[in-house]
């Protein structure tokens, strides 16, 4: 019945209580939303590459190498010569090696040259392989396989011609060698979705008439001639390597890092990811702290509302006291009301979060490649919600104790 009275009393102040609930709900949405994006980003980053033991590139930072080779963020400052690539491939510890050549783009999407092995060796989300939604891998020199987002965004179908631009966001297009879409990949939730994949030879082919990043004036080698040429790559941007035994990973890494012919860098994807987390960790913590502060602000708002309601509720408390309620019961009632308010706010916040998620999930996915799963609240989220309710109850102790003192001092006669 105390619960019913608490609910009734809250209902009698529906407007102010409603505002408080809304404030708490919004703060919970913000907090859980930030948390969701954070864990979602972390998970999707961690899911992007699996099964690769080492990533090899020209010497730079390990995070930078990871970012440009796997996430297609930023650019390589240097390439690996084809000789070095072949030398690494010949190392006894190497089980498989996949070259990656970046630097060209199609519209807003990056073009990646690679070998056929990429489709077999690249694994994501705990060992899943790429699968074709439609069509097949590149068979011809000018065949391209596109990721799911490329197809969806540009409305491409099998057999459509596409033109590759040199550089990124450049207008100088390799017009003379139009490609044809031979396959469309299934959605993976990784940067592969936003990549146009061609063969290593194709990358060579479109640069036949180019020297030092500029088109040789007046030179336009016909496609038929190009097909006859030796299109062995001269360089690769990076390489994904699998070792024959995990024990040899570090030996191979050291061998590559001490490669005598040119400065190279080999990183373990997991270790590079850890470094990345360490960098973004500070921002992450700051973001979390800010959203936690918003929750605290909402709860303090609730405390202020309870405080200001105390005066108009002295009567109510005097009645309860006269009926034999202990001052403790009065405190309990106020704390219960606050906990109820916070609980309703928290549940509403959770509901709003799911609402917002289901609305923005596809948008966030296509804009940022971030898949925010809609799933039952995690233990951590449940703890956050419980924490909000508990904090609400604790915060309300301050006005409740004041009510306690008031009800002791008033006796049970409140002069109205």
């Amino acid at each position: 019945m105390i619960l019913r009275l608490a609910i009734g009393s809250l209902g009698a102040r529906a407007l102010t209580v409603g505002m408080t609930v809304l404030a708490i709900a919004l703060s919970v949405v913000l907090f859980l939303g930030v948390e969701k994006v954070r864990t979602g980003a972390k998970a999707s980053f961690a899911d992007t590459i699996s099964g690769t033991d080492l990533i090899v590139g020209a010497r730079s930072g390990s995070v930078q190498l990871l970012l440009y080779s796997v996430f297609r963020i930023g650019n390589a400052t240097n390439n690996i010569t084809w000789q070095s690539y072949e030398a690494i491939a010949a190392q006894p510890q190497v089980d498989w090696i996949v070259p990656i050549s970046l630097g060209d783009s199609h519209r807003q999407f990056r073009v990646m040259g690679t070998s056929d092995a990429f489709f077999d060796r690249y694994k994501y989300r705990g060992g899943r392989s790429l699968a074709m939604a439609d069509g097949a891998r590149m068979a011809d020199l000018f065949d391209a396989v596109i990721g799911a987002d490329v197809a969806a965004t540009l409305g491409y179908r099998l057999g459509d011609p596409i033109v590759v631009a040199h550089g990124i966001a450049s207008f100088t297009e390799h017009k003379d060698q139009p490609f044809r879409i031979s396959g469309i990949l299934e959605k993976t939730g990784t940067p592969v979705d936003r990549t146009v994949i061609v063969s290593m030879e194709a990358i060579e082919a479109i640069h036949v008439d180019w020297r030092n990043g500029a088109q040789v004036p007046g030179q336009a080698t016909p496609v038929e001639t190009i097909r006859q040429m030796d299109l062995t790559p001269k360089a690769v941007t990076a390489a994904l390597v699998g070792v024959s035994s995990p024990l040899q990973t570090f030996a191979l890494q050291r061998a590559i890092n001490e490669f005598p012919q040119e400065p190279l860098l080999a990183v373990l994807p997991g270790v590079a990811l850890q470094e990345l987390w360490a960098i973004v960790g500070v921002a992450e913590t700051a973001l979390l702290a800010v959203s936690a502060m918003v929750v605290v602000t909402a709860l303090i708002g609730m405390m202020a509302t309870i405080f200001s309601s105390l005066n108009e509720r002295r009567r109510e408390m005097a009645i309860l006291r006269a009926m034999g309620a202990r001052p403790r019961t009065i405190v309990g009632l106020l704390v219960l009301e606050a906990a109820l308010t916070a609980a309703v706010g928290a549940m509403l916040g959770l509901g709003l979060l799911y609402g917002v998620l289901s609305l923005t999930q596809p948008i966030v996915d296509s804009a940022f490649g971030l898949w925010l799963p809609i799933e039952p609240p995690s233990l951590r989220e449940v703890l956050v919600l419980v924490g909000v309710v508990a904090a609400g109850a604790i915060v309300s102790l301050v006005p409740a104790l004041r009510a306690y003192r008031l009800s002791l001092a008033d006796g049970m006669m409140v002069r109205t």
Partner: protein, 227 residues
């Protein structure tokens, strides 16, 4: 039954109001009217009897129990068990139903609850005896007229038959006609159950209904000190 002896009390804080009662006794089943002007300390005296405030010195005995000897929680329990309380107005929790309000005191008083038996049935019965319309128990308290609210307050004071009912100017918010009807109903109930009634008022016209009339100036000395 009810006895105050050499009681002194002073409100803490700015009012500096103090009251002392040399001796006051009320017998079981007696109906007593306590008259006094506004500000003469009538409500303060009731608070002392209810144990919501404690005397600085002297004895306040209710049912042979020295109030001061009880611990904090026991006061509240004792009050809930022994005393039914009616205020001048705004007696009810406006957001609760009539039934909620009537059942409120027995929530804090297990013995009274046991005595009430089927508490809901008794509440309905009391409402009926007090001339309240049938079905009013589920109405929200705030929707009742003032006279009806006061009668619900009587039902609440009587449920589970506490030995004492204390009423602090229960009729001053009512017009003359309603006042008479209200007092008739109150007295019928109180006399029927042999309940002790201590009622406070500043209206001497009520006197002839009561067994005994006390005047504040006769039983107590009051003093005001500017703080």
């Amino acid at each position: 039954m009810l006895r105050l002896h050499e009681v002194r009390f002073r409100w803490a804080g700015r009012s500096g109001f103090s009251v002392s009662v040399p001796d006051l006794q009320v017998m079981p089943g007696e109906t007593v009217l306590l008259l006094g002007e506004s500000g003469s300390g009538k409500s303060t005296l009731l608070s002392l009897i209810c144990g919501t405030v404690l005397a600085d010195s002297g004895r306040v005995e209710v049912y042979g129990q020295d109030i001061a000897a009880l611990s904090g929680g026991a006061h509240d329990r004792f009050r809930a068990e022994r005393i039914g309380m009616i205020f001048q107005q705004f007696n009810l929790l406006p957001f609760g139903s009539v039934l909620d309000n009537i059942l409120l005191p027995i929530r804090f008083a297990p013995e009274r609850r046991a005595r009430a038996g089927d508490a809901r049935a008794e509440a309905v019965e009391l409402c009926h005896a007090l001339g309240l319309p049938a079905g009013i128990t589920s109405a929200k308290a705030a929707t009742l007229s003032v006279g009806q609210q006061q009668r619900v307050a009587v039902a609440r004071a009587l449920i589970g038959r506490p030995p004492i009912v204390i009423a602090d100017e229960p009729t001053s918010a009512l017009d003359a006609g309603t006042q008479t009807a209200f007092l008739d109903l109150l007295f019928a109930q109180v006399r029927g159950h042999g309940t002790t009634l201590l009622m406070v008022s500043h209206d001497p016209r009520l006197a002839d209904r009561f067994d005994r009339v006390l005047h504040m100036q006769d039983i107590a000395q009051i003093a005001r000190q500017a703080a």
